[in-house]
Structure formats: structure tokens, C-alpha cells
């Protein structure tokens, strides 16, 4: 089956000099949750807005469900769902009115009452938009993106403004949406969200894709180091750097962090025992997407 989305050499320049998206290519397969991960300003939103036909690309070839988003925007928008990062509704429109209106734009979509129920908006059905909390607005916008029963849904920073519990609920719902057959494109700067939710991610930095693959694959490929952590009062630990596999030893008071590759935990443990130190809190921290991001971009994720 051909990919749902193909992006080839997409380029977008703002003004004359600000290159927001710099020659990127990727494909999204049917039925997957594909993540675009990166800091603010990395070009993620610009990318998905071009893909949805909301912005005109300056270069490259885009296909979504076989359609060119530049020339078939309206036809395409009926088959996709969009949760935009910056959007609003009229202040005095009620939750149910918005869902009713947006479901009417595309006949044959879901029953808006079910979507309202799923996203926990039923007890707010008569509330005005301006009376909703940030999290409620966010859930309403996701519900509006799904109410037309889209084949592909674009979620741009969907969990911003949600508390941790609501975020987990949202992740479960997105998995359900995918399980029902909808392809999901997720834009996020939350490492945890990308790691837990996405089947594949593309890491973006300064308008380029610097890595692409399944989160676990990326961690295995790009973060080869593990960190051994323990506490000790021992003064001199210079001998630790001699242990096989050890790259670097960092010390913050009693806390010691040893970074190294492969079997470093076993070697560190052996060396500690040999020097009569048996810390009860000896443990290993496996690399996360955060380490991958740091390794790839040379900077931490900016919130």
C-alpha cells in the first residue's frame, strides 16, 4: 500500500531569509502514529501546515492521500482532521454547537455526540468557549479534528495545557483513534509523549530532519552510553576510570555518575567490590529519547 503522506524535499522560507523548513523528506504509512519531535522553532508546525495545505510550500513535492495539498486543499481537508496550535472559536459559541457545526461540514463523519463523550466534554456541552479551561479547549479542538471521521489526523502539540493525568487519557484516546484505522501525525516537543505514543518519529532541528525511526531504534542507534549511578563517601575514585568501558566519571557530593558503553555496569560493580565499596543504591540508567536528542542536536529541548 502506498504511504498516506509523502514529503519530498519540502522547503519553506519566511520573508527572504528565514528558512523554516530546509529540504526535508519523509513518508507516513497508513495506520501508524508518526511523530515530529523538536524544539519550538524547529519547523514542525510549518511542515504539517504545508502538508495540510494551510501554507504554500516554496519547494518540494507533497502528497496526502494521493492529493496535492496545494491544488486540492478543500477536497483534502474533508478527509483529514486538524488540531491547530493557534486557533480559536467565537467566545460565546457552546461546545455542542461547535461540534454540531464542524460535523456538518463533512457529511458522513462520526456522530458528534460520541466524540464529545469520548473526549470527556459531555458535562461541558452547554459551556461557552470562553468559559473553558485551557485543557478543555484543547480537548475540544482534538474532538473537532476527529468529528469528520478523518483518514489522517494532525495533532499539533495536542497535550499542551493538559495536566499529567489528562495527558495520559489523551494518549490512550489517540491510540484508540489509530486502532480504528486513522493515521496520526503528532507534532510534539514532549519527549515522553513521542517515546510512548509514536510508532515512528522524525527528530527535527533548525528546519531539518536529523534522525528518523522507531523511538527504541533511535535510542539504540544514537545513545550508546548508559549511566551507572551510586552513592559513596569514598574520597578517591580515580581508579574507576581505569575500569573497562568507562568513559567519564562525574561526582556531585556523594552521588557518582559513571558514563560508559556496553557492559560498564558489570565492570564498575566489580571494581567497586574490589575496593571494598558496596553501595546499596547501585543502579543503571538507560538512555532515553532525551539523550538521543541531545546527541543529535547538541542542545537540550527548549520548552
Amino acid at each position: 500500500m502506498p504511504p498516506v503522506i509523502t514529503v519530498e524535499n519540502l522547503r519553506k522560507v519566511y520573508g527572504h531569509h528565514v528558512v523554516a523548513v530546509d529540504d526535508i523528506s519523509f513518508a507516513v504509512e497508513r495506520g501508524e502514529i508518526f511523530g515530529l519531535l523538536g524544539s519550538n522553532g524547529a519547523g514542525k508546525t510549518t511542515t504539517v501546515e504545508c502538508v495540510q495545505g494551510l501554507r504554500r510550500a516554496d519547494g518540494g513535492v507533497l502528497r496526502v492521500l494521493g492529493l496535492d495539498p496545494q491544488t486540492h486543499a478543500r477536497e483534502l481537508r474533508r478527509r483529514i482532521g486538524s488540531q491547530l496550535q493557534e486557533a480559536a472559536l467565537p467566545d460565546h459559541v457552546r461546545v455542542w454547537e461547535a461540534l454540531d457545526l464542524f460535523s456538518a461540514i463533512t457529511p458522513g463523519g462520526h456522530d458528534w455526540r460520541e466524540v464529545m463523550e469520548q473526549w470527556g466534554l459531555s458535562d461541558k456541552r452547554k459551556a461557552s468557549f470562553h468559559g473553558l479551561s485551557g485543557g478543555q479547549r484543547q480537548r475540544l479542538f482534538v474532538a473537532l479534528a476527529l468529528v469528520n471521521g478523518p483518514e489522517v489526523v494532525f495533532l499539533d502539540e495536542m497535550t499542551t495545557g493538559l495536566d499529567p493525568a489528562a495527558r495520559r487519557v489523551a494518549w490512550d484516546l489517540v491510540r484508540q483513534v489509530r486502532d480504528m484505522g486513522t493515521t496520526v501525525v503528532l507534532v510534539t516537543h514532549f519527549m515522553e509523549e513521542a517515546e510512548r505514543l509514536c510508532d515512528r518519529i522524525a527528530v527535527m532541528d533548525a528546519g531539518r530532519i536529523v534522525a528518523e525511526g522507531a523511538p527504541r531504534r533511535l535510542v539504540a542507534d544514537h545513545a550508546r552510553y548508559v549511566t551507572v549511578v551510586f552513592s559513596t563517601d569514598a574520597e578517591d575514585l580515580a581508579w574507576l576510570t581505569e575500569a573497562p568501558g568507562v568513559e567519564r566519571v562525574l561526582r556531585h557530593g556523594a552521588r557518582v555518575e559513571v558514563r560508559g558503553g556496553g557492559a560498564v555496569l558489570a565492570h564498575v560493580a566489580a571494581a567497586l567490590v574490589a575496593h571494598g565499596i558496596t553501595p546499596p543504591d547501585l543502579r543503571v540508567e538507560l538512555p532515553t529519547l532525551e539523550d538521543v536528542f541531545l546527541a543529535l542536536t547538541g542542545h537540550e529541548m527548549e520548552e
Binding site: 486538524s82 493557534e86 486557533a87 454547537e97
Partner: protein, 247 residues
């Protein structure tokens, strides 16, 4: 239900929840009408093409045109451009709402508000100032509908060209105030210096006023003026469809 009617219905509900937005469209023209009524109460036109016509028989239909102009040149562009500023239009567009549905709903809302304004002003004139009932109500209604189309087109154009809601409001207010003074909706036309009449003729309200007054006072539909009003509306609508911006 086609989406344009659904949007129109929601816009009416929104208006009813925030009725204060209608105040300027109605209250100000009514206030001016009352003031003019105090000045010209039972006088008749002494000169010009409308010699012998009672002043208030002129003012009432012309103020219906004035209300329609304020809906089109002030309320509509402020509404549309604040939707754009806040990201409401972005949201509509991303869900596949067409320009035609959006602008069509704005036109229908304008027609509804114009109807309420027309009835209010007519009742005020007839009850308080003893103005004669429109001689040809259907022809007056036709002129009102064409005028609404014209000013809604101008309002959409203003909303498309103005960078912000504030800019749209300033431009709309300025246009409306100028028209108020040069279109026979304040001082009678025969008292105006010729340059002001020329300015009036260059703007749509002047023509809309004549198109409203003539069938009201029994002179029948003024097809020339109606055609001018329709023409201005058509041009404004076509241009605004080309330059309309969602964000």
C-alpha cells in the same frame, strides 16, 4: 442543512448572546434620527428634486439605508477581522469551510440584522413622527436587500484589506461618518455645497438613500440608483473574494 445556513444560525445565536454589538448599528442612527426629528419635525423640503416632501418622510427610509451601511461598513468588517485575528477563521478553513459559506453566512446575518433595523426605524417614524407608511413596501424591501448586499460586499473588502480588527474599525467608521454627512442622511442634500454632493455621489450611501426613498414616498423603484448600488456591491464582492485572507 447546508453549512452556510448552520453558520448563519449560530451567528444569530451569538448575536443574541452579545446584543451589545448591535448597539452601534441601531442606537446611534436612532439617536441621530430623533435629533433630526427635533430639528426638522414637521418641515417640508423647500427646494430641489424633492420639494414638497415632508422631511421625516425622507429621513425614515434614508435612515434604514444608514443602518444598513453601518452593519456593512462597521459591524461586519470588525467581526470578520477579529475572527481572523483570534484564529477563528484559521479553524474554519482547516475544517474545509469555503469562502462562499463563510461570506454567505455573513451576508445572511447582515440581512437579518438589517430587517430588524428597518422595522425598528419604520415603527419609530410612523408612530412618533407620523411618517407615511412606505408607498410600495416590496420595492422598499428590494432596495434594502440590494443595499445590504452592497454594504456587506464593502465590509468584506474592508475586512480583507485591513491588517487588524482595529484598523478595520477605524476605516469603517471613517467611511460611514463621511457618508453620513454627504448622503442626505444629516443635512438635506439641497443645503450641501456642490463638492459635498459630488463626494456623496462617489460613495454608495447616497445612491442607496435615493433607492430607498423613492419607492417609500411613492415615486416607484429608482432603477438607476438600484443598479449603481448593485454594481458597487458586485465589484466589492468580486474583489474581496480575490483578496480575502483567512489569516
Amino acid at each position: 442543512m447546508p453549512i452556510v445556513f448552520k453558520m448563519t444560525w449560530i451567528e444569530f445565536k451569538l448575536l443574541s448572546r452579545e446584543p451589545v454589538t448591535l448597539v452601534f448599528s441601531f442606537a446611534f442612527p436612532i439617536l441621530v434620527l430623533v435629533l433630526l426629528g427635533g430639528i426638522f419635525g414637521d418641515q417640508t423640503m423647500e427646494r430641489g428634486a424633492y420639494q414638497g416632501v415632508k422631511m421625516m418622510d425622507w429621513y425614515v427610509p434614508s435612515f434604514i439605508a444608514l443602518v444598513i451601511a453601518s452593519i456593512g461598513t462597521i459591524s461586519l468588517p470588525v467581526h470578520l477581522s477579529s475572527y481572523r485575528e483570534r484564529g477563528v477563521l484559521r479553524r474554519f478553513r482547516a475544517s474545509g469551510v469555503s469562502e462562499a459559506a463563510l461570506l454567505g453566512s455573513q451576508l445572511l446575518v447582515s440581512l437579518g440584522v438589517a430587517f430588524v433595523g428597518a422595522v425598528t426605524i419604520s415603527l419609530l417614524g410612523i408612530v412618533v413622527y407620523g411618517v407615511q407608511m412606505a408607498a410600495a413596501p416590496a420595492e422598499v424591501a428590494l432596495a434594502a436587500v440590494v443595499s445590504t448586499f452592497c454594504f456587506a460586499g464593502i465590509g468584506t473588502l474592508l475586512a480583507s484589506l485591513a491588517p487588524t480588527a482595529r484598523a478595520a474599525q477605524s476605516a469603517g467608521l471613517m467611511l460611514w461618518f463621511v457618508m453620513l454627512f454627504v448622503s442626505g442622511t444629516s443635512a438635506p442634500l439641497d443645503l450641501l455645497p456642490s463638492w459635498m454632493v459630488s463626494l456623496g455621489k462617489a460613495l454608495p450611501l447616497y445612491h442607496s438613500v435615493l433607492a430607498m426613498v423613492d419607492p417609500w414616498i411613492g415615486r416607484g423603484t429608482n432603477w438607476t440608483q438600484l443598479a449603481i448600488v448593485a454594481g458597487i456591491g458586485l465589484v466589492a464582492t468580486l474583489v474581496s473574494l480575490r483578496v480575502f485572507r483567512w489569516e
